[in-house]
Subunit: 368 residues, 2 copies
């Protein structure tokens, strides 16, 4: 497949909204023992559950290292396709391809440069070269050409689009020191507009409190559909999350999207603060260069980190009283999709959630 | 994808003839420096040429290790799909999946046990566990279920089928000590009939002289179409190949296929004996457990090791006067296909030829 040097916007390719029709979903199997406790076995069980749920609705491909291939195959249902691919960790939202479509249903993808959420400034592990090849390898598997940006660092979890010209991101992440610090905000915005084929970028100030991704938008806010967003919220004024959510709400309330629409904002209460336990901390290998998982650290738990696919919404739940409220709210927001709650503490312990570990391939030509 | 425990013959799945329509072809990128001289660079050039030729006619997928991924991608044309897969060497004919179809155009595959052409008896390298996983991983990529034989060792190059109930093999290989020595000839024949869905097995006595595969049939004889075979031949009575070709000719002359047809036999002259040079031998790393490539060793050169695909025949040539004769004969045998000669000494130096490094995926449902 080709590496393209042109611009998606000029070529007529755009990133569709996640809620548009998919041809399938990719995930990466977790295994690194310096991030996932107890040899990654509890996480693998939950990843298998997520894949099993998604695979009931659309084609599901699990990327797996050579070492874990047989084990993943044994733990996954037969309807999940397992493909070998070397990787550094399991966040395909962030290192994977961002697929684009044009009006004819042809597909291409953006292959952003990946540096493990901050590179040598505040990246989460070293090295990350295998992860940086994942997007290219996904493109080869899917048979699509890719726009590779060797000079622009971005993770898929730091952006959302409405498919109608609007992108949403956070200043906390995209203006962070470990990514594109030599670029101005305007230059970064221009790059997003060119490569996602959008007209307007909404810049939330910050993401979820203590999110190790430097505040990825996909844990904080998402497009339910064009003109409608869901925002992580708390009513607890003493929670450091409170100010972050208020800022975002105020920003969004005063903005319009690319089509000039005011945004309808739905607040989704976060669960109560979730802290890493001693037992959980002790299950993780200490390795120099990898972010440690320390007892008492607050995790960036949010229901917003859900994944929308063909006919379903896979939602992380935490055994928290707010689980039921989030599910009820999402049922209203997605009346035509089945809400699939998945107990996701083990994913959260690794630093993200269901949206972070999934990547959609949009549907292309009608014969797919 | 599923591992099946039933029998293809009972399930209505058969191996099509190679000359039937393909949906694509797989190859594996060469890299082991104890088999391919000069760091495998000359072989890679020829593999790239073979893939480039085939890819003009049908979908071409190159399997590549993590280490060689970028290099293979750079050396191959963009229309060749490159997928990561760990491997021990590059003989996808032998370790790859044997694909089957049924009358509805559904596909499955046989995943034979692989032991590097003889295991601990006379295998060619150690270990071979990555190669033994190739068939399964191809099935996952293609989305087909597989019949895995944990108790039966076979390489795809040791069989040919006519797609109409006949299989052809050699006693030299299938009755060798390093494969299924605990089975009788009748038991082996029954396994071939069950898993390829054939009624009759033609047992040539031996393959090509000094063939390190224990005489694979795919270097010696092949089905041009049902009822018609091409056989490696020499007129030189002093060549140790002579007696082998005569035996095969006499055997085939006195046999009929599964449909009761007498076989039309076309003799294809082999090139003159080709020996490994000092320079070629010196370019290969010495590694314990790997068959050495020694100066003066005769290689098992044969034009029969060609590959037939959609509209083409890729034929190894050796810069030998018999090249032209082979090409002329194949033009007559395949009047509707383009004959594509490829100078293949570098493949031969690794122990096989074009047929050994290719594996077809037959066309299934009509919407492919």
């Amino acid at each position: 497949m080709k590496k393209l040097n042109t611009i998606p916007k000029e070529d007529g390719f755009r990133m569709p909204g996640e809620f548009e029709k998919h041809s399938g979903t990719y995930m990466i199997w977790p295994e690194r023992t310096d991030n996932w406790r107890l040899g990654a076995k509890p996480a693998q069980k939950v990843f298998a559950e997520v894949a099993s749920v998604i695979g009931k609705y659309e084609a599901m491909t699990m990327i797996v290292s050579k070492a874990q291939y047989s084990n993943a195959r044994a733990m996954l249902p037969s309807y999940v396709r397992v493909v070998e691919m070397s990787n550094d960790d399991s966040w395909v939202r962030d290192c994977g391809a961002t697929f684009l479509v044009n009006d004819k249903g042809n597909k291409r993808a953006v292959d952003w440069k990946f540096n493990a959420w901050g590179g040598l400034v505040d990246g989460l592990y070293f090295p990350w070269d295998s992860d940086d090849k994942i997007a290219q390898k996904m493109c080869e598997l899917e048979g699509v050409d890719r726009y590779r940006l060797d000079d622009f660092i971005l993770e898929g979890g730091s952006i959302h689009v409405d498919g109608e010209g609007t992108c949403m991101t956070t200043e906390e992440c995209l203006l962070s020191a470990g990514r594109n610090s030599s670029m101005t905000k305007e230059e970064i915005e221009k790059t997003l507009c060119d490569y996602l084929n959008v007209e307007k970028v909404l810049w939330l100030p910050r993401g979820i409190y203590n999110d190790e991704t430097n505040g990825h938008v996909d844990n904080m806010c998402t497009f339910v559909k064009p003109g409608v967003v869901a925002l992580a919220w708390t009513e607890d004024e003493n929670d450091p999350q409170y100010q972050r959510s208020v800022e975002a709400y105020e920003y969004l309330s005063n903005e319009t999207d690319a089509k000039g629409r005011k945004l309808e904002i739905h607040k989704i209460l976060t669960p109560s603060p979730i802290l890493i336990t001693k037992e959980e901390s002790e299950g993780v290998d200490a390795v120099d260069g990898t972010l440690p998982r320390e007892e008492g650290d607050r995790m960036a738990a949010s229901y917003i980190n859900y994944y929308v696919g063909n006919g379903f919404v896979a939602v992380p739940v935490f055994n928290d009283p707010n689980d039921a409220k989030a599910i009820e709210e999402l049922k209203k927001l997605y009346p035509d999709r089945k809400i699939e709650p998945i107990y996701a503490r083990e994913i959260l312990l690794g630093g993200g959630n269901i949206h972070c570990i999934t990547q959609q391939v949009p549907k292309g030509c009608s014969n797919e």
